[in-house]
């Protein structure tokens, strides 16, 4: 049995599955059955990763934020506080899942469940290793964008069904924000798609492998736009205006308690991992790491990259204050969108030059990398100058006065 011969070869978990499929074909099963079985295996793999990630990330996030905030973070339950997520989950499950009197019952219950669907579906198109992809859609990037746009509706469902004013404020904010941020994100990804010439994530990773370079070197501006845009899409600081702890308390999930709240909490973490994974595959080569994947399994490298990017999101969260709604909108429309448009046009021009004059990749790609980095630098600095002209760049510090300069009141006497 070839299936058992290399079972210990965990470098590429796709290989055992491929052999399993071969074995099933030899056994004479029809295509549908094989399709179902392999899909089920992949789904189990992804779901187990997502489940473990959602639990572990609670610990990682709390520990790291704790370190950023000069405190220790959870360290009581289990070794290094590792069992803290379990304790959290037990607490949340025990709690009563309250439902407001005039809430829209079905929508209220459905929203935290349905919101998991796009979050988990996003993992299905990601290439985890050379042959490890559940659904190699040829419109993978567009698929991810479509998923992120459906999240909007579900968040609105939650906010609307809660019958709470804070929740309505939060969900209207979400809708306005996500609609605005979809444009720069789409345009940033357009740059990547144009460069790689395919919308399939597998194709984009193999493009990076073919030309022996991560796409961040050709698309630094797209990376930055996507990173900032996705913090908004993820509702994380500095763009967490939908939850806005200090303003509208918890925004769209203010009325949720118990495990319903826990689901929202978990889906935020899962979404963050998903976006980190998307960034890792689009800009950092996915499982491909300059030949390192020969020695370390590609999927481990991929998870390592996911968590490196996840760290950036935690760092943002630990450091930055929050934008106001209109400032966030202005940032999307006045800064990110023009930058993304210029980037997309630049990429189109470069690809045109590349394909039309048939210059070899070895010459033209380093030039593109340099040009794009220079362009990114110039655009960011230039935009910073233009945007800050309306406001004095450096704040006026308070002036120090030696003596009081207001008319003295009558001195108080006994």
């Amino acid at each position: 049995m070839s299936l058992l011969a290399n079972w210990y070869d965990f470098r590429d978990l796709g290989n055992p599955v491929a052999r399993l499929i071969e074995a099933l074909q030899d056994a004479g099963l029809s295509g549908g059955w094989i399709y179902a079985i392999s899909g089920l295996l992949g789904a189990i793999g992804i779901l187990s990763f997502v489940g473990v990630a959602a639990v572990i990330n609670i610990w990682i996030e709390r520990r790291l934020i704790g370190r950023i905030q000069v405190r220790r973070g959870p360290n009581r339950v289990g070794p290094f506080g590792l069992l803290q997520p379990v304790a959290d989950a037990i607490k949340l499950i025990q709690k009563e899942a309250l439902q407001p009197d005039n809430a829209d019952g079905i929508m209220f219950t459905l929203a935290p469940i349905v919101i998991f669907i796009p979050a988990i579906l996003a993992f299905s198109v990601l290439p985890w290793g050379e042959h490890m992809v559940l659904a190699d859609l040829n419109v993978g990037v567009l698929f991810l964008l479509a998923l992120s746009s459906t999240t909007t509706i579900i968040i609105f469902m939650a906010g609307y069904a809660s019958n709470n004013k804070y929740a309505i404020l939060g969900s209207m904010r979400v809708i306005a924000m996500l609609i605005s941020y979809e444009l720069p994100v789409v345009l940033a990804l357009l740059g990547v798609v144009l460069f790689a010439g395919t919308m399939s994530l597998t194709g984009i990773v193999s493009f990076q492998e073919t030309y022996w370079s991560w796409l961040i070197f050709f698309q630094p501006l797209a990376f930055l736009i996507f990173l900032l845009g996705s913090t908004a899409e993820l509702n994380r600081t500095p763009a967490d205006i939908a939850e806005a702890e200090s303003e509208i308390v918890a925004g769209f999930h203010i009325e949720y308690s118990g495990m319903k709240f826990g689901l929202f909490y978990a889906v935020e973490l899962v979404n963050t991992v998903a976006v980190s994974a998307i960034i890792a595959s689009l800009f950092f080569g996915g499982w491909w790491t300059y030949g390192l994947e020969e020695f370390i399994p590609g999927w481990i490298l991929f998870i390592g990259k996911i968590y490196s990017i996840y760290f950036i999101f935690i760092w943002f969260r630990g450091t930055l204050p929050r934008f106001r709604v209109d400032q966030l909108m202005a940032f999307a429309w006045k800064v990110l969108l023009p930058l993304a448009l210029i980037n997309a046009m630049m990429v189109a021009l470069e690809i045109f030059i590349w394909t039309e004059y048939e210059i070899s990749a070895g010459i033209v790609l380093p030039i593109f990398a340099v040009v794009n980095f220079a362009l990114a630098g110039v655009l960011i600095v230039g935009f910073g100058r233009v945007m800050s002209r309306t406001m004095e760049r450096f704040p006026k510090l308070p002036r120090l006065v030696k003596d009081i300069d207001v008319p003295l009141p009558e001195p108080s006497t006994a």
Binding site: T319, P398, L400, V406, L408
Partner: protein, 367 residues
């Protein structure tokens, strides 16, 4: 013709993470814009002014702790100085200096707390608050070293302070004084150079110098608006006339100016502490005050510069061991009175930032 929308009435508070206690603001919203606001206070009313009339002059000192519990020392200070003035008690030199040191330490602790929560209200996920807590913690350690308590100190007495400082106090204080300026430089880097914080706090919640004076604001609220007024200079009490320090004054009166005034005042406080440490004379720490203390008949109003503004006590004595009238002019309450003018026309997010920049303490607002 605008769309006819239904106004949305939202309760901000009394249970809200950014109202710093149980303060409630009933705002009418048009979308996110505040068209009307109504302040509702009294959720933490403990009837201290009335209770104080049933207790002796000395027994009232703990009440002053529990008003502004983030600046208990200044509450003590203001009350004791008022009673001393009423009774004409001479306070020993050393006690005066110790009072200044502790009041200024308390000012630093209170401003650290105020600025930490202010940045928190701007949406930072608690990080600046925790750093500010770290500095405050060291000050609280010094308090604990001296009087055993950390928050409600009850340290000052009529005629002086309860205990002399322990031997290890001054070296520890010296360490802190040397260390804090660097720390606050670091926070300037983290916060003042942060574009998002500037965007959130500049030109928000502006109150002009004239309005501020008319509303009888005081403390950083007034100084942020550009009025150089400080009770320590304008109406010196204790030994404050012996120190050389400056008043930081803002330019426009927005939230950022108030924030920066507090940041700058921390440095001035440190300089006062340094001077007080150098001048600290030896001697007795408390004057002799009879146990059955009865000040002569009369009334008095006396004020000091608390971290939040002008903290005044109005006391009437009828010659009995109990005050006849015990009234507090609490800066939090009076600074809060300007909030409505500041928030109407702003968004909810700005209103929260504005409220944070006022630095109220509901314990002091409601008493």
């Amino acid at each position: 013709m605008a769309i006819k929308t239904e106004p949305l009435v939202v309760n901000i508070g009394p249970q809200h993470p950014s109202t710093h206690g149980v303060f409630r603001m009933r705002v009418t919203l048009d979308g996110e814009l505040i068209t009307d606001a109504e302040m509702v206070i009294g959720y933490l009313h403990r009837s201290m002014e009335k209770l104080a009339e049933e207790r002796t002059w000395t027994q009232n000192i703990p009440f002053t702790d529990r008003m502004d519990y983030l600046a208990a020392m200044t509450g003590n200070f203001a009350y004791c100085i008022t009673v001393e003035k009423l009774a004409g008690i001479e306070v020993p030199e050393r006690a005066e200096y110790l009072r200044v040191i502790f009041a200024e330490l308390q000012r630093i602790a209170s401003h650290a707390m105020a600025n930490g929560t202010f940045v928190n209200d701007c949406g930072a996920w608690q990080t600046p608050l925790f750093y500010m807590f770290r500095e405050r913690e060291k000050i609280l350690d010094l308090f604990e070293m001296t009087c055993g308590a950390r928050l409600t100190l009850n340290y000052m007495r009529i005629g002086g302070v309860a205990f002399d400082i322990p031997d290890e106090f001054l070296p520890q204080l010296q360490l802190l004084v040397d260390e804090l300026p660097d720390r606050f430089d670091e926070y300037d880097q983290l916060l003042v150079d942060n574009e998002i914080l500037l965007m959130r706090s500049r030109d928000i919640g502006i109150i002009s110098a004239e309005d501020a004076m008319n509303a009888s604001l005081s403390g950083p609220m007034l100084r942020g608006s550009g009025v150089a007024w400080d009770v320590r200079k304008g109406d010196p009490y204790g030994v404050y006339d012996r120190f050389d320090f400056e008043i930081p004054v803002g330019h426009t009166g927005d939230c950022f100016d108030r924030f920066m005034v507090r940041m700058a005042e921390v440095r001035q406080s440190l300089s006062i502490i340094k001077q007080a440490m150098e001048q600290l004379p030896p001697g007795n720490h408390c004057a002799e005050v009879p146990l059955n203390f009865r000040p002569p008949e009369g009334e008095i109003y006396c004020r000091i510069e608390s971290p939040k503004g002008e903290l005044g006590y109005y006391l009437i004595s009828d010659g009995s061991p109990f005050p006849f009238r015990f009234h507090v002019r609490s800066p939090s309450l009076i600074n809060l009175s300007a909030l409505k003018e500041m928030v109407v026309g702003q968004t909810v997010a700005d209103a929260i930032v504005t409220l944070g920049s006022i630095d109220i303490n509901v314990g002091e607002v409601d008493r």
